[in-house]
Subunit: 314 residues, 2 copies
Amino acid sequence: MNLPEYPAIVNAHELIAPMIHRTPVLTSSAINEITGGELFFKCENFQKVGAFKFRGACNAVFSLTKEQAQKGVCTHSSGNHAAALALAARMRGIPAYIVMPENAPEIKKKAVAGYDAQITFCKPTLEARESTLAEVAAKTGATEIHPYNNVQVICGQGTAAKELIEDIGAFDIILSPIGGGGLLSGTSITAKYLNPGATVIAAEPEGADDAYRSFHAKKLIPSINPKTIADGLLTSVGEINFRIIQRKTDEIVTVSERGIVRAMRMVWERMKIIIEPSSAVPLAAILENKVDVKGKKVGIILSGGNVDLEKLPF
Amino acid sequence: MNLPEYPAIVNAHELIAPMIHRTPVLTSSAINEITGGELFFKCENFQKVGAFKFRGACNAVFSLTKEQAQKGVCTHSSGNHAAALALAARMRGIPAYIVMPENAPEIKKKAVAGYDAQITFCKPTLEARESTLAEVAAKTGATEIHPYNNVQVICGQGTAAKELIEDIGAFDIILSPIGGGGLLSGTSITAKYLNPGATVIAAEPEGADDAYRSFHAKKLIPSINPKTIADGLLTSVGEINFRIIQRKTDEIVTVSERGIVRAMRMVWERMKIIIEPSSAVPLAAILENKVDVKGKKVGIILSGGNVDLEKLPF
């Protein structure tokens, strides 16, 4: 299979531009003073459904042929991808079938239901999720849209870095968090084309460091029992994502849980914006001196802002 | 004393423009759907020191003559005005003397000290604050800058509405919270000049409703034991502010504590930005049907974003 290249991201951007927010890029003189770098934050927490995930889901949904689209789309997810896929499907006027574990938080069930998706609940195991999804797909003929191991999704996610570089210019360093690798693989394709002088670095929680280990072992090593407050980064890296990351990402570093909470709090207090823990992982890498930004111009993708206000870590 | 008019706000804006942030105006399709109006939020939570207060303090400090300025400025405050005055003074390179009650939160003491202000602590009574301030002023010759009952401060605060109307155009309704009345009086002057067709409405917590009662009694009635989560709105309306409000504000409405928390949470969850309870009061008035915005274009000033993350109401 051919890996996607930058022109596919340009196409994705043309396709989804009318549907997505071109999110703002914010700076903070206080955080620049603390870190010694010139940091530019791409605010995907302001994206529709509150996360960059809408870009990829939107590109996947609107890339379907009319025949495919009529039968709808499906996925298993309890997170931002489920909401993103549901909204994208509603915007195209097609059904979305979402398989969710029965113990998913009420707030997430409501969000997905609010976008008119048809939810099928299953036992909270990966096996049950996959078998239930297979049943749903067989019954409906819906196209499965994987949350990250999917070329259209990757190309959609790569549009965030495209906007960031278009709006601000070239960077010395571009930072993204890594979970399944959808955002990082898309970001790396864009960065290496538009801004080849930039070093592309991913930051990952120590407690879910499969990407870090895989990257350095040069082979995919899935996580076993990952544990981190950055709940968007619990998943293991996808196969297509990993092939792109091996070619186009320069480094992966890990950060502590304490560092994630500290960075998240710093963004809340200094920038007055709400980001979820996953979004704070790149800034945590800077604050823990895993990435040296002194005197450097740095682009950071804030991946999302969906947090349960009743379960905050401070 | 002549009350200030719009040209003084234009002058203030020219003076302070290089020092302040021209803050963004955000919208939320979700909140528009809920309220039935077209709402535009002027984000003074992104202003320097995290609140609109910096505009007024900055105008007051930079309006001083060289002779006055050399001796510095002083005020008693434990809130956003103290930080704003300290930063404005530092930017002009002059001393700021801040009288704070000894029981002020550590976080506020640190913020003010962080801007190099000289803090004098006193007993936590209005009497002690005023007598200590008089001593400091007598000893230093510093000019007292009142947080709201001050023409330069009022003119500085009026620049937020000026930017809002310049950026978005005319509104049907313009909403601001009311505490001491600095923001509302400045906003009303600007609105009645630039956008005379707009209805200017202030929203106030039921538990600190001196402006509401004064407005309807047509005379100043100070608050007695005000109590509200909107800690920026505990103060009683100033005399100059009230005279302007009587002439240029169309209506004052009150909202419940529960409504404030609900509105604050809605902004956090839907817009992913951090606002303090005082900022949520105008949206609370809409959600509690005190202001009918259906089909209307509405400008709302979000006054600030300084909250203690360890003491959230949700």
